[in-house]
Symmetry: C2
Subunit: 344 residues, 2 copies
DNA sequence: ACTTGGAGCGAAAACGTTTACGAGTCAACT
DNA sequence: AGTTGACTCGTAAACGTTTTCGCTCCAAGT
């Protein structure tokens, strides 16, 4: 493993000059710079991460915190793998590396993040699964660590975030259901403190209002964001009098549970209960009837996430001069057969 | 952000003593050690990662390389998230952190790994999606970086790996299919160089041999490890004369495609073609008929992975004195309805 | 009383970089 | 001819730790 010292000796130069050559400083002869770069390549010199960041106070890597383990509220498909890819497209352009930090299931997310931030192992942070009140946000602001949150929160005041368009989706979904004759539309929300539950509810309410339908709190259920939750929710719906004719689900896995409960009762999704789900589950097209849901490009989303993060980092403020950006990511309707026109 | 220097000043001690106190060295008064620890806690001192690893040559963090992006041959989110959790259970016991390194889709995995290793940002590596001949293995050996591979390979000679029991699964599956009357059993393998394809084929062959069935190469197809691949494979099977009565698929997503192709042809999985799949897809129970497949505990697997890695690290050889360990992880049959007894 | 030894601590070097500063050379200008 | 400035490059300090070495102090042994 070769260091800058041996590289300099090999070239007959001082380590200072070699360093400047490698870092594209102006005050080095183009001739020598070329020699240095060639030698570095030949000897396989790679700067030592620790030495570099100790001196510079910067690590050239970005942390992406996720929760590890089987959290049923996590997405069912390759959501993160897709997003990582988009983020990296942006980061690689600036020689930044992405390191994913999976918070163990049994550790408090804020404490885990605290540890990671204090170690100074990353220059900036992406946090996911944002809670309605999320201690991590105040913490990051206080620690002056640039970050972006994947999801809005009521914590903090003015910080960068990017979120999916839950309100838009709720509105489009309700519009569609109403147009198809539905009036009593149930809503399945997550039972935990994930903020999207609140935003989704807002969209649901405002859409109802536009259609001059009254809001009935008994139609809103907060259940586990899993197949189990969907099963249980559908069980409740079947017992309601009068029974809702449609249900809007925020998590795709819930739809699977809903299908199962209906099948068990000898009922048909789309016939006895219309179902619309938020994000497209990977098995959407293999469900029968096909599920009406919403679709997004994970890679594009990741790219946008990366760019918004860089805009929040002082070192890149010149290339991404947007400052603090808050963005709402749109989704596209995938029309299925799980919510046909209501039979008379 | 407070460093050891200011911590020492605050205590009226030298930084050497403070460091020794924090690191549980013997030559420090228990009284002062207590004072130091309390002050560190109070002032929120956390050692600077870069300084520490520059001096010690060790980073206290383990890298887990995965492929980011939508590589259908890679496992899904849920697989890795589950494994991460298990790995961390072990690592946290030794104050090690897990950092996941997602290799961008468009970068050569070996080069990416090279970069990560040369930067000295991690003490050891876990690599996944092992190829039959995998440049990463020789590279890691040459760089003297402790590692474990998730999957066997023909590269290298004696290195730690842990792999799923593909041969066992293939044998159990074939036994079951044969017992149910099937004689012409097709096999769906990945088209890329992932090693499991070869191992799985070996298991398939040896099982056939045990049952004194001849091996027919025209029955094994190498297709994309995706739903598309399964669709295409089933398409081929339907055109065969005589048509195989069963198919054994190595990737769960293939089963989805198989179901779809059969449905399109007006045929029924399990009736017109028996289907058995390797690993349980998350939607296994919602397929109709339910899929016969194999199940494993991701967390337990992760724990074993973590322990085997530690055994390969010189610093932990005393606590995990197994040396280089190669392990085959068993899976459990989940009996479904997709491969019933063959009708006469 | 003198040595021995251990316990506890401070001083300083070292890890691999980057960068501020200064020194040297040489051409161009006054 | 002397001054100026641009262009290269070397020197050395600094980043925050850990660890080796040696020093002091004091108790215990001779």
């Amino acid at each position: 493993m070769i260091g800058i010292r041996r590289l300099a000796e090999h070239l007959g130069l001082s380590i200072g000059t070699v360093s400047r050559a490698l870092n594209n400083r102006p005050d080095v002869n183009p001739e020598t710079r070329k020699r240095v770069l060639e030698a570095a390549d030949e000897l396989g010199y790679v700067p030592n991460q620790s030495g570099q960041s100790l001196r510079k106070g910067t690590t050239n890597s970005i942390g992406f915190m996720i929760q590890s383990g089987f959290d049923p509220s996590s997405n069912s498909d390759n959501f993160f793998l897709g997003v990582f890819d988009g983020v990296q497209i942006v980061l690689r352009r600036h020689n930044l590396d992405l390191t994913v930090l999976p918070c163990p299931l049994d550790e408090d997310p804020a404490q885990y993040l605290q540890r990671m931030v204090a170690r100074r192992g990353v220059d900036a942070m992406i946090i996911s699964a944002t809670r309605r009140v999320d201690a991590r946000i105040d913490m990051l602001i206080k620690a002056r660590m640039p970050f972006i949150a994947l999801g809005r929160s009521t914590s903090g005041s003015n910080y960068p975030w990017i979120d999916l368009d839950f309100e838009g989706v709720a509105n489009v979904a309700i519009d569609r259901l109403v147009a198809r004759g539905h009036r009593r539309i149930a809503l399945g929300l997550p039972s935990n403190d994930i903020n999207l539950g609140y935003v989704f509810l807002d969209g649901y309410k405002s859409a109802l209002k536009r259609h001059k339908l009254s809001f009935d709190p008994s139609l809103v259920a907060r259940v586990a964001t899993s197949e189990q939750g969907g099963y249980q929710l559908t069980h409740q719906i079947l017992a309601m009098q009068p029974r809702p004719s449609a249900v809007l689900l925020v998590y795709e896995m819930m739809a699977i549970g809903a299908y199962r409960r209906l099948n068990e009762a000898g009922l048909l999704p789309g016939k006895d209960l219309a179902i619309v789900t938020f994000r497209e589950p990977p098995m959407a097209r293999f469900l029968s009837p096909s599920l009406t849901c919403f679709r997004m490009s994970l890679r594009d989303f990741g790219v946008s996430l990366g760019e918004s993060l860089l805009a929040a980092m002082p070192d890149f403020a010149s290339t991404y001069p947007n400052g603090i950006v808050n963005k709402i990511w749109p989704l596209e309707l995938v029309s299925g057969e799980s919510d046909p026109f209501m039979p008379k």
